[in-house]
Symmetry: D2
Subunit: 315 residues, 4 copies
Amino acid sequence: MHKNSVAVLGASGYVGRELLEILARHPNVTIEFTSSQSEREINGHRALPLEEAQKHLGDVELVLSCLPHGVSRPAVEEARRAGARAVDLSADLRLSPAAVYGLTEVFRPRVPEAAIVANPGCYPTAALLALLPFAKAGLLDTSRPVVIDAASGVSGAGRSPKRELLFAEVAEDFRAYSVGNEHRHLPEITEHLKPFAGEVDLVFTPHLLPVKRGILATLHLPLKQVLDRSAAEELLLETYRGEPFIRVVRNGIPSLKDVVYRNLAALGVAPVKHVARPMLTVISAIDNLVKGAAGQAVQNMNLMLGLEETEGLRC
Amino acid sequence: MHKNSVAVLGASGYVGRELLEILARHPNVTIEFTSSQSEREINGHRALPLEEAQKHLGDVELVLSCLPHGVSRPAVEEARRAGARAVDLSADLRLSPAAVYGLTEVFRPRVPEAAIVANPGCYPTAALLALLPFAKAGLLDTSRPVVIDAASGVSGAGRSPKRELLFAEVAEDFRAYSVGNEHRHLPEITEHLKPFAGEVDLVFTPHLLPVKRGILATLHLPLKQVLDRSAAEELLLETYRGEPFIRVVRNGIPSLKDVVYRNLAALGVAPVKHVARPMLTVISAIDNLVKGAAGQAVQNMNLMLGLEETEGLRC
Amino acid sequence: MHKNSVAVLGASGYVGRELLEILARHPNVTIEFTSSQSEREINGHRALPLEEAQKHLGDVELVLSCLPHGVSRPAVEEARRAGARAVDLSADLRLSPAAVYGLTEVFRPRVPEAAIVANPGCYPTAALLALLPFAKAGLLDTSRPVVIDAASGVSGAGRSPKRELLFAEVAEDFRAYSVGNEHRHLPEITEHLKPFAGEVDLVFTPHLLPVKRGILATLHLPLKQVLDRSAAEELLLETYRGEPFIRVVRNGIPSLKDVVYRNLAALGVAPVKHVARPMLTVISAIDNLVKGAAGQAVQNMNLMLGLEETEGLRC
Amino acid sequence: MHKNSVAVLGASGYVGRELLEILARHPNVTIEFTSSQSEREINGHRALPLEEAQKHLGDVELVLSCLPHGVSRPAVEEARRAGARAVDLSADLRLSPAAVYGLTEVFRPRVPEAAIVANPGCYPTAALLALLPFAKAGLLDTSRPVVIDAASGVSGAGRSPKRELLFAEVAEDFRAYSVGNEHRHLPEITEHLKPFAGEVDLVFTPHLLPVKRGILATLHLPLKQVLDRSAAEELLLETYRGEPFIRVVRNGIPSLKDVVYRNLAALGVAPVKHVARPMLTVISAIDNLVKGAAGQAVQNMNLMLGLEETEGLRC
């Protein structure tokens, strides 16, 4: 059987390793090489320094880049020059017309032919999958802000040693960061919401959870009209009908344990009682390393290579 | 030295035990007896069945009740009949004119003479200490809702064995509950905000954190006018000047580790950027078992007994 | 394609659910039904009360029982009478000649034809895989005791609500239990060691770890002669050559994260310095729910059904 | 009231901060200054660079050094030359005749007059407090090895950022390290056992626990004669009669939660059944930052300054 050849750049972080795990079990791809600045072998795969790896980008059909922001874009552009297509897991191209934004369930038609797919960030994946159905249906009341309080496991902060990420600092703690709309990924949410809802005020506050992996986003949506629970669930079910990697929880609220180690976004809703104007709370849960990064990248890779979108993924 | 005699009812739960720990180190009180349905001795103190304990309520100056909701009120009333004063840590009397609401920093003048103090709930303590300074200053824009996303450690759910509270269920998980303004303590927040701000729409969503203790509340306040960070901090500092158990974090955001094992509420603020109408995010952190329960109860007890408010407490 | 029909009894605990997860992805089996006393549907599978389920045991080729100790044996015997073969995950038959002891890597030749396989306990799996290579090679000095200190994640204690297993009790704690050779699974280790080493004194002390899953056993083996690290590793490598589910870590020590969510036992060794008589420390790590229970059961089931031993399993 | 003046060197690590917390509540001492290479203020105390701090050592009565191994000894010697006494929390002087070994309950008579006290390591504190009563009583069978498997919370590994100590690496993991008697603190145990038991073979294997603080040591002692549980408990009770910081748990086994945040060692025993020659398992639990470091240092400091040994400490 023909196997597609791929390379993974920046493979030694948490996302890179998760990607290698998925690809190693994938029946249709071969990992030709990986890159890492610090290691020469990762999970049994050859790891080259980036400078060296860049000389071989033309040897593979598709490059998946988990390089840091700022470093990734030039590498992806180099891959293109060498004739390879690319999935960029960094934030470098997520707002760029040079790439297709790879929120697969939303932009699927554009992915197969894309030269470059910009894989969405983990917070934006969780937020947009919850927001877009209501935005597309014209239900968002854009005169009022959407409030999003989201919490991420520590793997989302990367694998570089930092004191604030030590076990003895994080365990038994919980904290907000980038409070006051200071998070760098806020524009990614705003921009990809715009085509469907126009300008929307967002109040986005991320928090650091004492767990290894997972994102739970609690979104409070101002609506133009009252939606009861079943109508809101129906809208989500209709929007995501047939989607293998999205689960709408009926009469319930998803939590991290429903999604970790799976390429899955789980959504649940509850109308807000006792408030003067209609609001709906939506809970969205993903594994930041899977549906929020490596798993979604493989969804996009599968489509780009003409494979079944679900190949190699578990939900 | 004269020591005041007290009794602790319902002493075998997490709050009861925390209270016994604090009282055992308190230089001015003697624990005469405790009550428990399942144990006859707790932390070295005699524990009577409630029915038995109720016969002796007149033997002590002050009764602290950690009994379950519904059971506590009759016991507290019995204590009154027997001539003892009471601090009720249950929710039974928090909305009742029969008790003084013991959010000490706000209602201090009424506490010393109170026959019964209704000790605030843990979520309301965290929320109200953050909200009231802005409400009192007339800054809350009550035409828009206040959104509160709060997260609590597992001890807040009590010590009765329930599957959903098992370690193997909670570890590495994070979940919202009572979503859609269904939490039973929401009226406690609304009612005690009302004298200062009138009717305010709240959207309150609690979450369960995989930590033993601590509450972090993230509050998004709609304001009538823009407040920059330093003005908002100044307002908090001014409101809580001289308060030993409240810390305003300047240019920072408090987290659980700043407050656990302390009788302390820590507050931090950040104005929300990029939104059309003024909003301020306030972060409020407490230990649910201390400032959110047993510690605050001892603050109130100290005032009722004419002792130094800080006696026996650490911050 | 023909699929083998199986039933899972006692499916609502942690082991039962893990087994359902594995079997649901298994390409060659169909789960006909499951049993549970409390639930009528588990992970999308029909769950019958045990009494009802027992009427249908003859409808399947193989029954996997995760029933509690004492309840499992009669159900397995009923399955035999109805013509089904069985893998018993309880401890009921692990010392019985009526069943083949399913430590697959050791007793593989006897498994395919077995009517009943008694699936090993999690602690015995971790211990025996570490001990047997040295016992078989005649290297154990049986005049001195083998000391085994082992630690298990909380899922090993089951899913029934018990106070001592609450998150608020277990988090940040670590404790020994059944100290002094009181653990009920000690004879399982002793008996299955006996054919290879004769009577051996064991000192086995289990501990409860604040993690969801995983067992790490630290075994101190008195040896008849000095073995340096590389010789000890060589012996393990030789014993387990070609085994897909055993990994010998060279020049290193395995930890839980090497094995969780995998059907894998990882082994590492270090000779003990500065002692008068030869000793070797062996570290053995497994996931208690996978290689220590459901995964090993599927290994055995695969062999009994004439399938590839690795089918449906990941390592 | 006269307050004794002290300085804390190396105050920015976990032990240093714990020490500052204790000293800040201590009624009889004043922290004149602290040292840190990275910070100029710690917990409200002035922090000088070490070079600067060393010029002022003569200004205080007693110096407590939490400096790293190798750096501490010269600083302590400098303190001596400047006329101050010292408690050295590093390992530098624990085997040196130039200092009194500060395992307070054992060497108390020598502490008050000591110029320098070498504060014991955390693992040695847990191990020696369990071993010495049996060694002193002549009960240890020194022809057989003592096996000690111990597990420590992550704060024991220090506050410097290292990848292996990141939350995402440590959570849900458990691992052994320095396996094969490679741990650098093994001689500290051996040497201080020698005066009471002569040469004893120890097999000491430390493990890293996913908790913030606490050490649990499981010790297997070969005895010259059978001791039943109550006789073993009696021996411990007798040895430690009147000791405020040691608790013998009767008919039970201590765990971390009995000791964390307390200056307390808790001990429990169980005779080992089903073995040919007498063995006793002893479980010893301490908080590595308190009784295993800062708390014990304050015990020693109190004695050196002529204060009550318990002053400022909680158990």
